[in-house]
Symmetry: D2
Subunit: 486 residues, 4 copies
Amino acid sequence: MQPFAPQHDDKFHEECGVVGLNNHDLASAMVALGLHALQHRGQEAAGIVSYDGHTYLSHHALGHVGENFHANSMVNTLKGYTAIGHTRYATSGETALRNVQPFFADFDFGGFALGHNGNLTNAYTLKRELVKRGCIFRSTSDTEVVIHLMAVARGHDPVARLIEALKQVEGAYSLVAVCAMGLIGVRDPHGVRPLCLGKVDDSYVLASETCALDIIGADFVRDIEPGEVILITKDGKITSQFPFTKADKKFCIFEYIYFARPDSTVEGHSVYEKRKNIGVQLAKEAPVAADIIVPVPDSGVPSAIGYSQASGVPFELGIIRNHYVGRTFIQPTSETRHHGVKMKHNANRRFIEGKRVVLVDDSIVRGTTSIKIVEMIRQAGAKEVHMRITSPPSKHSCYYGIDTPEPTELMAHSHSVEEMAKIIGVDSLAFISLEGLYRAMGETGRNDKNPQYCDACFSGDYAIRLTDRIANEGHTDLSYKHKASK
Amino acid sequence: MQPFAPQHDDKFHEECGVVGLNNHDLASAMVALGLHALQHRGQEAAGIVSYDGHTYLSHHALGHVGENFHANSMVNTLKGYTAIGHTRYATSGETALRNVQPFFADFDFGGFALGHNGNLTNAYTLKRELVKRGCIFRSTSDTEVVIHLMAVARGHDPVARLIEALKQVEGAYSLVAVCAMGLIGVRDPHGVRPLCLGKVDDSYVLASETCALDIIGADFVRDIEPGEVILITKDGKITSQFPFTKADKKFCIFEYIYFARPDSTVEGHSVYEKRKNIGVQLAKEAPVAADIIVPVPDSGVPSAIGYSQASGVPFELGIIRNHYVGRTFIQPTSETRHHGVKMKHNANRRFIEGKRVVLVDDSIVRGTTSIKIVEMIRQAGAKEVHMRITSPPSKHSCYYGIDTPEPTELMAHSHSVEEMAKIIGVDSLAFISLEGLYRAMGETGRNDKNPQYCDACFSGDYAIRLTDRIANEGHTDLSYKHKASK
Amino acid sequence: MQPFAPQHDDKFHEECGVVGLNNHDLASAMVALGLHALQHRGQEAAGIVSYDGHTYLSHHALGHVGENFHANSMVNTLKGYTAIGHTRYATSGETALRNVQPFFADFDFGGFALGHNGNLTNAYTLKRELVKRGCIFRSTSDTEVVIHLMAVARGHDPVARLIEALKQVEGAYSLVAVCAMGLIGVRDPHGVRPLCLGKVDDSYVLASETCALDIIGADFVRDIEPGEVILITKDGKITSQFPFTKADKKFCIFEYIYFARPDSTVEGHSVYEKRKNIGVQLAKEAPVAADIIVPVPDSGVPSAIGYSQASGVPFELGIIRNHYVGRTFIQPTSETRHHGVKMKHNANRRFIEGKRVVLVDDSIVRGTTSIKIVEMIRQAGAKEVHMRITSPPSKHSCYYGIDTPEPTELMAHSHSVEEMAKIIGVDSLAFISLEGLYRAMGETGRNDKNPQYCDACFSGDYAIRLTDRIANEGHTDLSYKHKASK
Amino acid sequence: MQPFAPQHDDKFHEECGVVGLNNHDLASAMVALGLHALQHRGQEAAGIVSYDGHTYLSHHALGHVGENFHANSMVNTLKGYTAIGHTRYATSGETALRNVQPFFADFDFGGFALGHNGNLTNAYTLKRELVKRGCIFRSTSDTEVVIHLMAVARGHDPVARLIEALKQVEGAYSLVAVCAMGLIGVRDPHGVRPLCLGKVDDSYVLASETCALDIIGADFVRDIEPGEVILITKDGKITSQFPFTKADKKFCIFEYIYFARPDSTVEGHSVYEKRKNIGVQLAKEAPVAADIIVPVPDSGVPSAIGYSQASGVPFELGIIRNHYVGRTFIQPTSETRHHGVKMKHNANRRFIEGKRVVLVDDSIVRGTTSIKIVEMIRQAGAKEVHMRITSPPSKHSCYYGIDTPEPTELMAHSHSVEEMAKIIGVDSLAFISLEGLYRAMGETGRNDKNPQYCDACFSGDYAIRLTDRIANEGHTDLSYKHKASK
């Protein structure tokens, strides 16, 4: 019996969060807290591997970190001074325990555990070759390719074997790993996904976002650089190398718009501040005469505050979110299905009646949720409903670690903004411009020749080769999904 | 293994929500949706009883509605055209299934199921007599007293038997019940707890708050009156009576400050609007030179918006709430315990640094949470921290259905505001005045001779007799807790 | 999902086993072991209540004792020096936790827990009166009537209240109970069900059968007498009284034929020895020329040994029992259902081929199992199949604690032995005579005026009044089943 | 929390049972029934893989077949016309789901699932090489070696790949497998473990024992030959080959003594008949003046019947077995631990008192159980206790698929029969002679130069090379246990 998870209905989904920590008596408990802070990056499953110098212990579970990792028992079951953890989003068919990371393997040099945020774009191509060589895969995850590439690599240095493996992969990856040599962190040459370094007492911490440092009281040290491989030994010595071919940085701009937590500082920028700036920019680009600014909770709130401050139109909670929808079995029957949106949101009816409302949301995917929310606001008696979106139209799929529908399912792929406004039922609809988005980020504008960020989902400019997608065109090999999630 | 629920650490807790619905093919599924909307009124357990004209079916479970009531299966297991439901908060020792409502009994006249929001103040006294008479109690809940009083009452009319029973009880109660005669709703003569009537298609709905009407698409009809007993027959005929001695209305003012959902309309007032008014009044009573207004999420948000709009100081999300804390097993060990507050909240560090911050919160109970939040804001680099509380100081316990600590545990019971400010560590602390609170409610002021609301937790003016508390003084009879929760 | 329990398909079922023990540090663990030894007396559910001088603790569970009562954890959860336990068979509709004994109630004099083996024959009549008086029943068990009768009885002496209650009931009962006064044991005036007293170290033990004494190393002291009420105080003082009107002893003869374990000594007789005697008697009454004697496992084994020794025909395991069928979810679909018998039994084909086989079984209920077993033996190649039954034909229902189908479902109720032989498909069929059964028990014959045992299921001579059955004739009150099982 | 499984305390354990079936609508349900009949060959875990021509579906579970495989749901979840199943014994440390068979792998030629009964004696040596080559193992089972050897073999014919893999392994194996080509059965060249072929309607069945054919109504066709590889295509065509170097047959003689079910016919012999013959031979070799022959249930029963018939001393059930001990949580605390034996067995005290008793058991492993049983019989009042064992002394470990303790733990390894008698506490002790055992099997005697059976556990004559054991001597490589169980 699968729980009904309405929050997945019509959103993009970040696919993973990773945490690693060394030299701490309570390493696994600390990692669990860190994963809890990164729960928004992947809510379907989580895993932790700990290492005590001799033995690797692990626990993997479907569901939220807080439901499956009990600090008291972890102290006994996941012993060790080093631990890495992973939290993951997965499309429903793939929600099997065998796909839950970190992955572990017993190599000739000893044990090695790995957690991966991102997506490899040539995993299928590599897997096909590895299977021919006699490798037996146990998961459908692209990350397992890295493990097998390490297995067939040479030498007895785990880090060298990892690097040899990674030199063969393409795509986006921020990795944490643990082996007898210590705690390892890696970011792909383009630095698509975030990874930062923190410190608490004598322990170093690797984490996808700074909010995972905050929860355990760690201080931010620095971001891991694109293309960097960092090794932290048990005694706290850090060695760093840049073994890959140098590439242009292409950090995912959507992390600022939607994925990262507003209290995180990512690549030197406060996410909350950037999100407010986007609201300010949007107010400039697409002003509208209105009575109230209403965020679609919760992602729209910071931008709506920015929009309100820039426009002078009051910010009000016109939509109330039910905080108990995380995981629910009130699976709508066909008769009750139309309550889906209302299970999560309710219009603040008495405050909306007769008002001109500006709804602020982060994106429009298929448009189904927007249609229902606008309908709810209209039923509550709004005089006018305007919608302002804090990202440019989402026209393309992401192959670098975000779960997006096929382009044909994206409303903006085949409809103009005017058509979308009509379908959604608003009096006006506006998206921030791509140029404006870069300005809100503090740039003077987008460098169209070599954009400062990865914005492929808006522009279609894919900076990293899509080997599997090309290889797969015209293929009907169904045994492997080229966009395996992690 | 009990989950760690940090959100209960230092808050008052509403104790119940009730829903009832008649004449609907999917009665139990609709009631489950209603309970889901009332989840904030009681998160520990929930139950539903359905009736199909012949058989009463029930399901009771510990935990959230959404985790235990599956709409698809309910259609098969909780059949019937009428259903009532109950969601409940309970102190840990009392979290047993036998205490989960609705209660059901087979009387000589047939079956009868009952759900209760509120607390009876003479239950212990009555129970002692009933046990002497040969009654066998199976729960520790005060509500079971009503069932036994009905059992020993005379006649074959269930409603008359219920009224005869209720004439003997004192305290606060909003009830929903179902029997062969139909769906029943009752409010105590003082109307301490809310109960409203709605309609969807040909079905009538009874619910604690209007947000439970909204989720199932029901229109608000009217509030049930204090002292009213309403019977809705299967064919939709409504009969109403007022069988109790008339009393002054004493609606709980804390419902507006904290308990009710901001999208609910309670006793004719928008909760969100009243909460904003309180913020406006507070800004007038206790202004302060500051850079940002920061709500303590989530209850402080509407008042903080009001305070910001009245003062002109910008409203900012300076504290980010982790939405995945509903139910977590990351039980802090003694070493990790200090992460407790951070599991729920994180300071938006980059936005707070160097700022003069006004924190807006709804109440101070023991003060423990406030201390930690202020410490977190200071660590984030705030220049000044001021705290504004949207209720008067909480000096007294509630005996009418809200779980409050003993008065000696209430910080305001034995400390002046100045002392509290020092302990909490703020540069200034202010509570709204009792007089100001009534003004924010739209009154010209508090009628001290006969206050318009129940404000006993602030004033100590208990309008309803506390029979058990008086009877119990000097007693050491431990087998019955005089403040049984529901 | 209900487990498939093929062993219930076509057997009579004893309904309960009880155990009580006082003055032991591990009272509840010892009681669990005792219940485990009595598992054959009731496999659907079990419960234990312990008492430590202040608090009553309990655990009730559906399923086998061994699956639900963990000795290590019981020491912590079911603390106390006195404990009573109950294991129970239940018809499927009644398998609800609320019906699992021991029952507990908080009286004005304190707590009282009660476990019952047997069945009351006027429970429905009493219940109807009690409900009219205002009693609220929570189970469908007849035993709860005793609890309510105690509640409305007078005085502060629990034993006196229990006796006052029991004076009003009719039927069969062997009871164990615990209250502040000590451990209590009772047998009804006719002594229909067994109950014995044992001793281990300084602890007294009450148990349905001696095999429950053996497992905990207790020595047999004596049987509790019909009509006896025994109280064992904490310091080991025993007081005995006979407060009921004296009656003739009517011990259930079926206990010897089938229910009791062969290693138990019941009412002074070795069950195994009596069962062998029955086989010997049967060989005399119904000899047959044959090659092998084959018991239907496991109940037929001792009688088959007796039959073999008396007849000189070799005893062989012609049917092998699969010992893993206790509880299985291999629920036959309609296509696999015909494997039902084979899941439990398999013919020892190579040993049966070409042989003249005498099958020895304990009884024929509906006949369905016998038909399948004979078919299996024939398919295995037997030349002749004869069946010998170690009880007289079962023509009547039991109302004293054994779950029997309605008489119309009993094959012997409406068929002659010749007809039965034909339907079952055997070359010959013979039952032991009622007279022969008494002789095998060591009597000179049956005293038809006042039989030495209760043999109502064979003779229809019901020694105890069937008040409910008479009251219920012509009734359609379905809310109470007059033969509630326990 | 691990269940207490007293039946494992002091017995040898067969390690697996396998079943395969093709061309049946209910293939997986039929396989589950077959596994249920083979439950005695492995009680810790079971798995089934089904194949519908396109997809492989699997379910693996710890525990009994009957508790985990629900025929009704299997029809929906384990669809397909072919299925194989495996039931397994495992030492406690190895009871992990990842070790539960059948194993499945996705090869370049497609899927392949494999179930194995037996043990490979060079698995560790092969694994070490495979890991060096880059293979990643996920289980600790020796069977996974076969999968990896197949992966690195060449060609696109699954059967040829399997044969190429098996040519590299040494040891004992009876295999069932399924792939797109059909259902496969294999027996190692020595034929150490059984495997037979049956037919029901148009389906062929492979099973470890004939009792698995009986339960699904299949007729026995023939045994698979040592060294035979059989392929059964979907349309029922059978092809057989003998690709391995020819070797002498060495069927495990212990299968007749203890492992196989008495209703099975193995390698042409009725197990029950052979077991009785052993009893007859034992009565001749080691007669004793006695009053009763008592089997230690349940394995001693057929031999005790043989002994009784040969000696004329009556066979009696002097020990009663509790049938509910399959799986119990009544984990003895140190105080209750001495009840361990009694939880399973109880002396039939009233029948043993004053008698000279001959106990018949199948083997003595560590001797601990024998000591307790003799003590129990003495406490029950036996005048003399003699013990007769239906196997020669167990002095050596098995490396071919039976879980045996290290030789130093075997009582017979370092004690004479006289010493054992003294330790166990019997008046006399005798084992059948090795020569006598062969005679009971129908041989004229043991061919010491080339014994007709594998009797290594008695004689120390290991017919198959013990490569891993030799390689491992002096080794401290703990990461791989050379006697991995399956």
